[in-house]
Point group: C2
């Protein structure tokens, strides 16, 4: 069984957030320098994670809250609406596959059962999988609220898979790699150009179940060598 | 297999939305009569469903958008923050079980496999199930983005259950009852005092798989009679 993270592993995602942040920085340019807006937004997101969880709607609410806070309530209704419209634009954005994804999935699908394990908003993630055109490759789709070792352990139990027969492919050390290694699975780390600070982590150097790929096109070769 | 809807079937929920609406009506009382605020909010929610899906975060974004629209952008930052704080209050609200729920589950759990099938926000619903103290009764929890006949058909396939061995218990004709009957299952409708207009539907009178209970405490007797 090979499982894939979705955002920034199968398709571009973080750049939508980066673009939305730029919009917010422009809206608040009269009040604060962009670095400060970014820092306060990140602090708001971290504080709100326990209320809102992950995803674009949570991000939108944190952007609005940051705008209110950083303007001491002077933000205009029109600017608030622009933030909401930015979020709607993110939700409706075209799903742009990463290079090599289509070829890699086609190469390995005949020999392996594939699944998606992704975090975030249920509705948004389902829409993206549908719009990506990749749905046919995946036997199972698991949308989860957090990616902890227990999350992966529960999925392995649910599908009755031994950890040593499980490989997770993803771009976030914190969510896709370290918790999978913790439960005895294999993990292939495919770094993405931009990764959210919250998802950073240390490479588990020396762990024989840890693999790093420069891009997902190298996955078939890794599988052949395992 | 007996499946339960969660919001307004196992615990009170709609009244949180009603209370939040009252807050919005008060905030906008200088601009519009309460009936108009309610009507515009519902229209905004319906329009945003395709973008945002269900749940409190979606509701919060629709409340903010309605407030901006109905004040022609003159809503203050402080009032926007109050709407966000109202949403956080909803997300953190105590889970108050409906009468008879605990007893009914205890009575039927020894003889039946129980599950939850609930719609809405993944993170929020998981938190509520955990806080409800009812988690131990349920072998499976399915959080779905829509409750269509295909949704139930997929769940029946996934757990390998014949439709005639499946009973869904819920308060929404549109989501819990009609689509289950459409795939050949049994459905027990337990009306709730307040049901969101969007979830209304017609009682499928005369369908022998349709049952109506005045309250969930009558479920064990229904099961004994089936």
């Amino acid at each position: 069984m090979i499982a894939f993270d979705a955002d920034d592993t199968l398709w571009h995602n973080e750049r939508l957030y980066t673009a939305a942040q730029s919009t917010l920085k422009q809206l608040l340019a009269h009040y604060h320098p962009p670095e400060w807006v970014e820092q306060r937004l990140y602090a708001t997101e971290m504080r709100n994670l326990a209320h809102f969880g992950y995803g674009i709607k949570s991000f939108a609410l944190s952007m609005i809250e940051t705008a209110v806070e950083l303007t001491e309530g002077r933000i205009s209704g029109g600017d608030i609406q622009q933030i909401i419209d930015t979020a709607k634009g993110m939700l409706a954005a075209e799903v742009v596959l990463l290079d090599h994804v289509q070829d890699a999935l086609e190469a390995i699908a005949p020999q392996h059962t594939l699944m998606v394990i992704t975090k975030g908003d249920l509705y948004d993630q389902e829409q993206k999988i549908a719009r990506s055109g990749l749905g046919r490759f995946f036997a199972h789709i698991e949308i989860v609220s957090e990616k902890r070792p227990e999350t992966y352990a529960a999925i392995l139990r649910r599908y009755d898979i031994a950890p040593e027969r499980f490989l997770m492919v993803g771009n976030a050390l914190r969510s896709d790699i370290l918790p999978v290694l913790a439960v005895g699975g294999h993990a292939a780390y495919v770094p993405y150009a931009q990764t959210w600070a919250h998802e950073a982590g240390e490479r588990p150097e020396g762990n024989p179940s840890f693999h790093e790929l420069a891009h997902i096109g190298l996955l078939p070769a890794l599988l052949a060598a395992l």
